[in-house]
Symmetry: C2
Subunit: 193 residues, 2 copies
């Protein structure tokens, strides 16, 4: 039962933090939404910061489970996998009316320059995103789908950065245009033979 | 005197909000830092939200004054102006140890999907940024510095989005690498003849 309560607090907290940010979310608010008695939080987490770092683990696991099927699908070409992954996230954000954004990007923006422990953990999580895309870019280069002139790591890094910026724009445009603009520009001028 | 106090609250609030975000910044904290008596806030601002919207005006004015000299300098080529503007902001963030980020981007990330009045005002401010860059791109196309094949508005939009994303990455990398990556990629693959 202890494990279930911990998981319920994490899932509920992740949902609220994803929308409202870390500092704007109170522990009592999470416990109330999770239906967990006040005061039980510290049975599971050392501090709000400890909780926040575990929420990042949760987000990372969520991203991995959402993307694994596509990233590892060798029945489709590497470039098609990159495109499919972006389209999958575009559909996800459309289903959320273009709110939320990327939790790793949101927390990096909010906490990167306020908390050294968040900064370290978020850099790790963001680097893992870059690794995922860089790996597919290398494969696509081997398949002749992307020019080998491109430095794969620089390209993976830029793909992720520009995607994070498109997600910021999405929140104020409240439509898919910034994500579509990202997709068009990336594949028309950048990730191409 | 009234005008000076209002201006002092705005400047102090803008500084704190730029670093900590809107929801994480308290009115009392701003008044204390500004050395203004508690309770006087509502002589100048209708609400915290009203204040926040005026802080956006302040940020917009700050950006305009920082960039005007470069944007309007017709003694240098349009593409050189775009490059100089980005380099100026890179130097600004270096002087801030890679913290803060773009206040318009930060608030878009934080408030875009939480407050309709912020969303409208931030979209306006972000569109003005896009207009500034798009105008210089059009000029650069006329000067033969950037291919006319590029849709200038799409390119201006992508330049701003990808810059916003690079600023997020900067906060967790705590170095200039994400901004340099942005600069390299933009001018090597997009804004070129």
């Amino acid at each position: 039962m202890k494990g279930n309560t911990r998981q319920r607090i994490l899932e509920t907290g992740a949902e609220i933090i994803h929308l409202k940010g870390f500092n704007h979310t109170g522990i009592q608010e999470i416990l109330k939404a999770a239906g967990v008695p006040k005061g039980s939080f510290y049975n599971y987490f050392k501090s709000k910061e400890d909780f926040g770092l575990q929420v990042i683990d949760y987000f990372e696991g969520f991203f991995a489970s959402l993307s694994r099927e596509i990233v590892e699908d060798t029945t489709i070409s590497p470039l098609t996998r990159i495109k499919r992954l972006l389209k999958t996230f575009m559909a996800f954000f459309e289903s959320k009316d273009f709110t939320y954004g990327c939790p790793i990007g949101n927390l990096s923006q909010e906490m990167g320059d306020l908390s050294p422990s968040f900064q370290v953990r978020l850099k790790q999580a963001m680097d893992a995103l870059v690794d995922t895309y860089t790996g597919m870019i290398v494969e696509a280069q081997e398949h002749g789908e992307i020019s080998k002139q491109l430095d794969s790591r620089e390209a993976g890094s830029f793909l992720v950065s520009s995607w994070q910026g498109a997600l910021i724009r999405m929140k104020i445009e409240i439509n898919a245009e910034p994500l579509e603009n990202h997709y068009t520009m990336i594949f028309k001028y950048f990730l191409k033979p």
